[in-house]
Symmetry: C2
Subunit: 191 residues, 2 copies
């Protein structure tokens, strides 16, 4: 049929997210997106302009889900439990699917040098917000930690999550990643 939009935007973006998640912004092609969504290339160009516009929408959807899940996992009175929940969530997130899709933010960050300012900005945003979420969780713990320390530690934790994402790509299993995360939490939080 012609003349009226044939596809549901939310479905298309959700499907596009899956494609980008598996292939990355750079490697996913408009043909990939067309095949996965069932919407022809020309229609996608007409509706969104270019690949990056589609990516930005998909990425926003992704980061929204991700940060919400992170906030939920961290919402536990006991800081140790909160962090363990958080790492469980992170690791499941990146090892899910077959083959596993890895971490979209990390993959996108690695391509930052060849990406637009907008893409770079989104990566920095999501990392910054994650840092804030964790910082708040640490600060909220029974006040034995100064805010500055909590923020520094939050950045260390964010950095470690990025490391896990790389290790996943390098072939480490979910179990291995969980073990490393547990070791990290114990060591850093001084268990």
């Amino acid at each position: 049929m012609v003349g009226v939009r044939q596809f549901n935007e939310n479905e298309v973006i959700a499907t596009a997210l899956d494609v980008f998640w598996r292939k990355g912004l750079h490697d996913a092609t408009m043909q990939d997106l067309a095949a996965a969504t069932g919407v022809q290339r020309g229609s996608l160009y007409n509706a969104y302009g270019d690949k990056e516009a589609i990516f930005l929408r998909a990425f926003d959807q992704y980061t929204g889900q991700f940060l919400e899940a992170a906030g939920h996992a961290l919402a536990h009175a006991d800081t140790m439990t909160a962090l363990r929940n958080f790492f469980d969530m992170i690791i499941v997130n990146m090892t899910d699917g077959s083959p596993a899709r890895g971490c979209l933010t990390t993959r996108t960050a690695l391509d930052a040098a060849i990406s637009s300012t907008e893409v770079r900005q989104r990566v920095q945003d999501v990392l910054g917000r994650l840092e804030q979420l964790i910082g708040k969780t640490l600060s909220a713990a029974p006040g034995r930690r100064r805010a500055a320390d909590a923020n520094r530690l939050a950045r260390v934790i964010v950095t470690f999550t990025r490391g896990l994402a790389v290790m996943e790509r390098a072939g480490y299993s979910r179990k291995q990643l969980k073990e490393s995360a547990a070791t990290f939490v114990d060591a850093v939080m001084g268990a």
Copy 2:
């Protein structure tokens, strides 16, 4: 001139390493390599077969240098000092050049899903060897740590270095990376 090899292999591989370091295995083209080395595309195909063969040589050169530098940095009696040296080296390594080239191993790991078995194997090798180097350093410390603990912690440290590489790509400065590394070392080694 024709009939005799016009280029020095070591120079070509060293130059190719720089190209791969800046662009990544996937994004660097034979044309990039030809332009940078001054050797024509056809000659490179004739001499090496394909792009991946050139990459493997360059990557081997890279990991050799890298692991040697890591071993040297870690060769200090005091574990804390050894780790600080190590992180300094790592961070300088990835923030060097303008624009900074980042970490080649990390970049390569992120593309593991679309790379050959050989490439994946090399990434796992270098990470495994790095882990061993660090594990030995930790085990050698005045024996308050069991070997199993040292190995687990070594993997955590390797993971953190991968995280630093991602954060560098995301735009964090050398100074910020060094601060995070310092916080990490203090937290993990219980300073």
